[in-house]
């Protein structure tokens, strides 16, 4: 288990500010965020290359804040592999073993095992410059795994690979994680990669933890506008807080929802796949009358764009192709969209 307790580190143009985070034993945490957000710095704080200016880092309950990397037992894999070019694959793999007091036959056996696990047994006597990107990354992962770390840090491990290789390696990483019961922290800027790893996601913005939670939860109900935009939200409207007898209401034009406590400026998000498109009718809360301004075939569904009076931006709803045909939807069609169950409130 990794715990970060109010960790702050400012290093030249990069910074991590006041990050509190917990990664449980055997969890696969994915850290996402835009370039320059401090994701790599966060990993290097965990690794021990950087030490926090303030705050503490605990691994399995023990304070490792001041420990150098060699005493932490954490494996690290970088995007650009960073294999030792002067050593062949087997010696790259065996690099860490001498520090584990493991040599001779024992070391060779462990190198063989890891090489078999990653399917690189045939490469053992090749030098890094003769390997392809995917092979290099396998060797880099193997090199980290040989020393049997409890925690594995991956800094954009798949970004430099072509799509096919990346998806194969992604599946293998998932299997490895399950088989070895590793705690993994995986940094990426690729959202679909983050989603497919299945673990919790932490979103970093300007060195701060902007959002953190299980992937489905975070993608469905992003807590902030930044998170919503980063995860590709479609219908996002700036809203106003209105006082009612019962409490508070957040409203953006005709779209409104009850809410409890609200900090910061409110926004409303309408999930396009939860919008119910109906024949034109009037009346009812969160039933919006609008005109179709665009129909885009997205392959598995059709995105219907509606112009709704009072709404600051067009509303998009996803419907099936069958629905478009049966309802004879076309540009200029007059419809009603029921958004009652599609609304999500978030803050600035």
């Amino acid at each position: 288990m990794i715990q970060l307790d109010k960790v702050t580190r400012v290093w030249h143009e990069f910074a991590i500010r006041d990050v509190t985070l917990q990664v449980n034993e055997g969890e696969y945490l994915v850290i996402v965020g835009p370039t320059g957000a401090g994701k790599t710095l966060l990993l290097e704080l965990l690794l021990g290359i950087h030490h926090p200016d303030t705050g503490r880092i605990l691994i399995d309950g023990a304070d490792v804040t001041g420990l150098p990397p060699e005493k932490r037992g954490i494996g690290m894999v970088y995007q650009d592999y960073l294999l030792f070019p002067h050593l062949d694959v087997s010696r790259n793999l065996a690099f860490g073993l001498r520090y584990r007091r493991c040599s001779g036959e024992d070391a060779r056996r462990r190198v063989r095992e890891v090489a078999e696990l990653l399917g690189i047994s045939s490469l053992l006597h090749r030098y890094p410059y003769t390997l392809s990107g995917g092979e290099k990354q396998r060797v880099a992962i193997g090199r980290a795994l040989v020393t049997e770390p409890r925690i594995l840090l991956l800094d954009e491990p798949l970004s430099a690979l072509d799509r096919g290789t990346a998806s194969r390696l992604r599946n293998e990483l998932k299997l490895l994680h399950a088989a070895k019961k590793l705690t993994v922290v995986h940094v990426t800027h690729d959202l679909s990669e983050a989603r497919q790893m299945g673990g919790p996601i932490a979103l970093v913005k300007d060195g701060r933890l902007d959002a953190f939670g299980p992937a489905d939860d975070l993608l469905r109900r992003p807590p902030t506008v930044f998170a919503a935009n980063f995860f590709g939200a479609v219908n996002l409207y700036k809203a106003e807080v209105q006082k009612t007898e019962g409490g508070m209401r957040v409203a953006a034009g005709p779209v409104a929802a009850e809410c409890g406590f609200m900090e910061g400026a409110p926004y409303l998000m309408v999930h396009p796949d939860e919008v119910v498109v109906l024949p034109p009718s009037t009346g009812g809360a969160n039933r919006l009358r609008g005109e179709v301004t665009a129909l885009t075939d997205e392959g598995n569904y059709v995105a219907v764009q509606l112009r709704v009076a009072g709404l600051p931006a067009p509303l998009t709803a996803y419907v099936s192709r069958h629905f478009v045909r049966s309802q004879m939807l076309a540009l200029g069609s007059d419809v009603t969209a029921d958004v009652e169950r599609a609304i999500h409130i978030l803050r600035e």
């Binding site: 150098p68 060699e70 690290m76 970088y78 520090y99 980290a144």
Partner: protein, 327 residues
């Protein structure tokens, strides 16, 4: 369009070697070098220069299949050829016009042999010391950002720009018999640096240090610091990562820095002559012979020293030449 491209690529295929790699277009220069040497031996210097210039133009012309706009390149080649001629002519002239028997006789002179030994060994010691102190400084300059780094880098380059006689005088005021460090060293420990072997080492070290420091820094800059991070994540200490990863990847840069330092050290005369005229180095000896006996007498000694320097320089360069491997 397609036909034109085929036409362009056709001459290239003629330059394929058996292993598939293309000949260097400048390998044509090899054809001209024997002519060049023959003309030099016959004292036909103007003909030798003409041959070299022709070779340069010829090599440029061979490249025309891949490079457009050959005219400026031809001008550059002639300019470059003249420059090479300017360097090669005095050296080759000295080598080819000295009688070998006189070189051998000079080499057997005990004064010469002692001077050669003193120069080479002092240069080696200066190089080793400069490595011991220069490698850590080069590493710091490559890896860390700190206040006043530009100042430190400027200071490192200073021995290159200070005239060496001035360096000698400055060193004398510090390490000389009455110098601010030399006087207490003499009084307390009875160590005298001026006019001693160690004075020579000192002067060589002073003028040679910048090359080691700068080459080390440039070499370390080419190794990604994250390579060291990975090594440390695998259990290596900072020093362990340095010796198992960084040094194996930079030893060529360190060696070429050391070669330059060493070459600078054996050629140093100005500061050595001021801080330690005795014992005599090859340069002091050469200077003295030239003053007392004139330049024809000095010629075999100069040729001998040139041969030694060239042999060592070429040998070390061959070791330090980068392997053709992409990292």
């Amino acid at each position: 369009m397609n036909g034109a491209r085929q036409k362009q690529s056709a001459p290239r295929e003629r330059h394929q070697r058996l292993d598939g790699r293309p000949f260097s277009p400048y390998s044509w220069l090899l054809v001209f070098i024997p002519f060049f040497a023959v003309f030099l031996c016959l004292n036909l210097y103007w003909l030798a220069g003409a041959v070299l210039a022709t070779a340069a133009v010829w090599a440029t012309w061979r490249r025309r299949s891949t490079t457009r706009g050959t005219a400026p390149l031809a001008v550059f080649s002639v300019a470059g050829g003249l420059l090479i001629f300017f360097i090669v002519l005095p050296i080759v002239n000295l080598l080819f016009t000295t009688e070998p028997s006189r070189i051998v006789r000079t080499a057997l002179d005990p004064a010469v042999r002692s001077a050669i030994f003193i120069t080479l060994s002092a240069a080696c010691i200066a190089t080793v010391i400069s490595l011991l102190f220069g490698v850590p400084l080069g590493y710091l300059l490559a890896r860390e950002r700190f206040a006043g780094k530009a100042v430190v880098e400027g200071i490192v380059d200073m021995p290159v720009v200070i005239p060496h006689t001035i360096a000698g005088i400055a060193l004398l005021f510090v390490f000389g018999r009455a110098g601010i460090l030399g006087a207490p060293l003499k009084a307390r420990l009875d160590i005298q640096l001026s006019d001693s072997y160690w004075g020579i080492v000192l002067a060589m070290l002073f003028v040679g240090l910048p090359f080691v420091v700068n080459h080390c820094r440039d070499g370390f800059l080419k190794v990604d610091p994250r390579m060291e991070y990975v090594a440390r994540s695998l259990g290596a200490t900072r020093l362990g990562a340095f010796f198992r990863v960084t040094i194996p990847l930079t030893w060529r840069a360190l060696l070429s820095g050391a070669i330059l330092t060493w070459a600078r050290a054996i050629s140093e005369f100005g500061s050595v002559a001021i801080i330690a005229y005795y014992p005599k180095t090859i340069n002091t000896l050469l200077f003295e012979w030239y003053n007392f006996f004139g330049y024809t007498y000095t010629k075999p000694l100069a040729t001998l020293l040139l041969l030694i320097a060239l042999a060592i320089f070429i040998g070390l360069r061959a070791i330090a030449a980068p392997k053709r491997v992409e990292h």
